[in-house]
Symmetry: D2
Subunit: 366 residues, 4 copies
């Protein structure tokens, strides 16, 4: 229940940050897909630490290994098992801080949930590294969605107070991805990117961290999919997105801005254009009544600053049961926003593929 | 799949806005609970239209009727069926606008999803009235949670630009509920309430509508419940909340504000106080790693302005396939924020009770 | 969890034998189906007691009432709520026997499961009457399956030692149904029927009861549906069938006979006939590896004798905690086998429709 | 959906017979269990081919490898991944018979389900080898159930017409296991075992195969667990058991015999004995109304003869589309009944542990 997600396209996560491996079982993959493992590897590379001077230096290799579900290079309809092995880790610091509750870390909640038996090394199951499994599954989902011209694109919309308010239309997918990948923080606008990088670098030097927001845009998703109530696209995407560590908010379309708008402003007028019924703007974020409108699905996600910082913090020593102030050393990623982007794209792909399989829009044999 | 929610405590919604009734099946209710039907009725009354001069005038009676699951006034472990009958409705206007797509209404998406067969009268399954079922189920969940001292309280945090930034501590639950119920917009602060009421009244007169935000605070929820990944409290609450029409955003704790914070600001220091491990502040919103910390669970929700307004709008005439501008008449609720509050509380109660049943914290016989 | 079944086509049962009503919510019904309520009523009539001189005399009216999900006589994609009201019941005898554990009745297990809070009148949720809901849902499923030429037919294969070993081919569905309905025990063979009727009548006079077996044959079910492991057709059908009270066994194809066979006897040879790949016999019961072969799906079910008999029995008086022997009076159905037949057909229809919706074989709009 | 089973204790199967490995993810294992890997290995050894001169000679090593979920030798609450690697296999014969439909094999149904993309080598996902994963998961479940004195014991009740009709009481669990393990066919009665062995040996020499039945007895399972309808113990066990290849029937308690009994014979009288309410016999198989009675849970399973035999059989050549007769060579197991026993025990353990976790009878931290 905790570690599986989806109905027909269903992923099951396993592995620990400092165990042998991190993996994912991907069930419900339609048979007959020629699987591009290099594409999965590329997606994985976007999540991995140490991509730029700005980020944490853990030099994980993160080579995807496929253990089941493929035959003659094609999917068979069987569950696909994908793993990455854990190599470059040092668990000794976790021993050192074993008796201290790191602020905003899972030390306390894991202790209460698992009675002290959970693997605390590298945050175990709570590590961002677990999301490598999400990315591998999502890279399969994306390959299938691409066959139906459905693209998923996320980018850094803000870091601290540097906000890119531009509305992007994803008409040339490969180009905008290329543009984003040129930015060290995965922003689109060059100038904003430079300002964001500066903030991240400052936080890196101060051993502090900084949050940001990610916007995700899905194009060509067919209209009339999803449903009211508990199968709404918003319900399913939000459930998936909040499974990613560090996410603390999500909004669709105008989102929290809608809370300050009048109906006459917020309502998206319908228009017949090029023989197609569309809306003139998209404050609904492509979803009305939980169902896709055919306009781009758009949502924005709030990423909190990582809890791991190198500045003295107040906490409790569990052994002595005293209030103390200590500095937790260890690896440090000043801003995980750029690395969360492939994870957000992946979980979105997983949700949307499942939706289209349930609806019978995508068949079980490709 | 569309109309059921929960694992052990599981609700199934049925009925239409202008059909015979709106109902809910509540499965997994522990046996032996002395059910207070008057309490359910009171919760329902908070959701019903026409509570004040500010709101829509549909005078629904909304008397709760229990059809199954009770014996000698106690729950039996059997599914409980609760309904309200539909009486005061006039579907003629829906006939009138049948060929027009109301902006930001479900006319178009329902058409695409159900091929023109859905019951469009009063928005059918998409009506806010469907949430009366959520409220009835939630009123059962709340009665059970109350036995464990767990309280759920939501209030209007903002309407348009009037925002109540105060941090409330729910130490006297009945008192704060009483305070809120005195406000026509379900705000806590008296002065803010008056300003909000003024805005709502202006929109009512202009036949326009206005959005707002609702904050929800859960107290005494035990620590160590929920889980990482797909069973995170955030995942489960957000899935439930986005099943409510008009919700377009959710944030936990500092939420979107966290995206502009440094780790050194955002991290909640642990402290030993009164022999209990707590945090000195609660930017995590009572959840770390998807698991409850024992601090209050806090989240804020964005409610968009209702789509139904009495101002001319651009749209498409489906019969003639022409772009037109028309004014949709009919009942009009300028601000649904106050009426969404009992629904948010109810869905939160449903999620949290399910969580505590899964964990074995609340037994199957009370 | 207890009271819902299915994935896309999902039923949720509610109501009690001696409460206000017995009902079912049917979710996931494709939109656009012209629903034949008279057909549902006819199916229901086959389950109802008092159909012949042989059975219990409770004269339930059992008029199906539809409370939601229909518009202009067609399904809308919304959940359909169907109920029958309870009228002709007398709960006084249950008061009388409250302190006695009726042998092979649920008195003891319900007590332990629900702590004494369950509605014991008329066996409450454990009553065969609850299956009226299954039948109403199944009558919808059958209407949809019929559009794809898929028919489900069950009949009494044996009562006590009178066994009809004939292999029937369902080529003219309406005719064989007509033939079966002429038999008071729903057998096909006229002579066997007479022998079975005699046994039932003997048991009626002796206030005893008698068991039997039911065979179910599904024709025209498409090949290649179902799946290995946990989604096997056998897994799904058996789970559904054991939800029916009084069922104690199920076997597919040769079933328990296969346990005494050699592979060279049991294996069904493949043959190309009329341009179609078939098997020359069907010991597999139309399912290999959990997947349909395109041959008729066949299974047989064991129905135990009803526990309610009018003969003195040994049991425990819960109040005095003494071993006693008493005679339980009350209504008595000497053989429920004929009345279980529509329930078996219905649950089979529910399972198979769900399967074909999951596979995308039957679309979501008809 | 196809490859996962269970609610809280949830297993997910992956791997192929002739791929790299066969594995299982076991989610929902309570934290704090000291895991005995040697016990898992022993269970696995009971399933493995080549245990005696009677069985197939594939000499799989089948060493269990644990890839996740353990820390300091204890379970952590995280998903446990267990695998066995595939080493000793030769897929060339599958190439040879690629165009022929082996009778009663999955060649045809897999072709129709997966469009020709499934891994046919060694029957891929349909191989009995996949059940090694069930056994590994079950060996964890059994360790937990043992802490609550719940034991699961299955044995060969019949092979062909040699039937052991004895009713065994499992009072000394270890002893009866020892007795069974002395029998080459896992029977209890020494003389019956010898007769069974003789039949198996005959079939081995004739390159034929033979079916049988397995009886399973669960002792000390607490009363009042399970539920009516879709959560009945019979429903859940049968769903699990039919996920095992070669199973074609299941019956609980008196089962099909009940179909020939009168109520006065079949009803189990209640009796107060040693201060405990029990039944004087157990034709109900320990389950009434889907709920455990506290008496042993008993069921019997029909195992068909394996489809792989070395005798010429009629079939279709898919390439030439001609009816042919050919002899399929390859490894041959004349009777899989003894090897199915650990699988039946394992799936039963998985179901029952899940049930007790849902009920809150077994806590989430041990």
């Amino acid at each position: 229940m905790d570690n599986s997600f989806g109905n027909i396209f269903r992923i099951t996560s396993f592995g620990e940050s400092h165990g042998d491996l991190v993996g994912i079982i991907v069930d419900g993959v339609p048979a007959g897909l020629e699987l591009d493992l290099e594409y999965i590897q590329n997606e994985l590379n976007k999540r991995k630490p140490g991509q730029s001077s700005l980020t944490t230096t853990r030099l994980e290799e993160d080579r995807v290994k496929l253990l089941s579900g493929l035959f003659d290079n094609r999917t068979t309809g069987a569950p696909i098992c994908l793993i990455i092995e854990n190599k470059d880790f040092n668990s000794s610091i976790y021993e050192k801080y074993k008796n201290f509750l790191r602020p905003s870390h899972v030390d306390y909640t894991a202790l209460k949930k698992y009675g002290g038996f959970s693997d605390y090394r590298g945050s175990g199951r709570f590590s961002g590294r677990i999301t490598a499994g999400f990315v591998m599954a999502g890279a399969i989902a994306k390959q299938i969605l691409k066959k139906y011209d459905i693209t998923i694109f996320a980018y850094t919309k803000s870091i601290e107070n540097i906000i890119d308010e531009e509305t992007y239309i994803i008409d040339e997918f490969e180009k905008i991805v290329e543009l984003r990948e040129k930015s060290l923080v995965r922003a689109i606008d060059h100038e904003k990117s430079k300002l964001m990088e500066k903030i991240v670098e400052e936080n890196r030097q101060q051993k502090d961290s900084i949050g940001g927001t990610v916007k995700c845009i899905i194009t060509n998703f067919p209209e009339g999919k999803g449903g009211p109530l508990f199968n709404s696209i918003e319900s399913n995407i939000s459930k998936a997105i909040f499974a990613i560590p560090a996410i603390k908010g999500i909004e669709f379309g105008a989102g929290f801005k809608a809370a300050r708008m009048k109906g006459s402003e917020h309502n998206d007028p319908w228009i017949l254009k090029d023989g197609k019924i569309q809306t003139t703007k998209n404050d609904a974020g492509g979803i009305i009544g939980g169902i896709s409108t055919g306009m781009p699905i758009e949502f924005t996600v709030a990423v909190k600053p990582t809890a791991s910082i190198g500045i003295p913090q107040k906490t409790v020593n569990l052994k002595t049961m005293e209030n103390v102030e200590i500095e937790f050393s260890g690896r440090h990623d000043p801003c995980i926003v750029p690395r969360v982007i492939p994870v957000i794209e992946a979980m979105t792909a997983n949700v949307l593929l499942d939706c289209l399989l349930i609806e019978g829009y995508i068949p079980r044999i490709l």
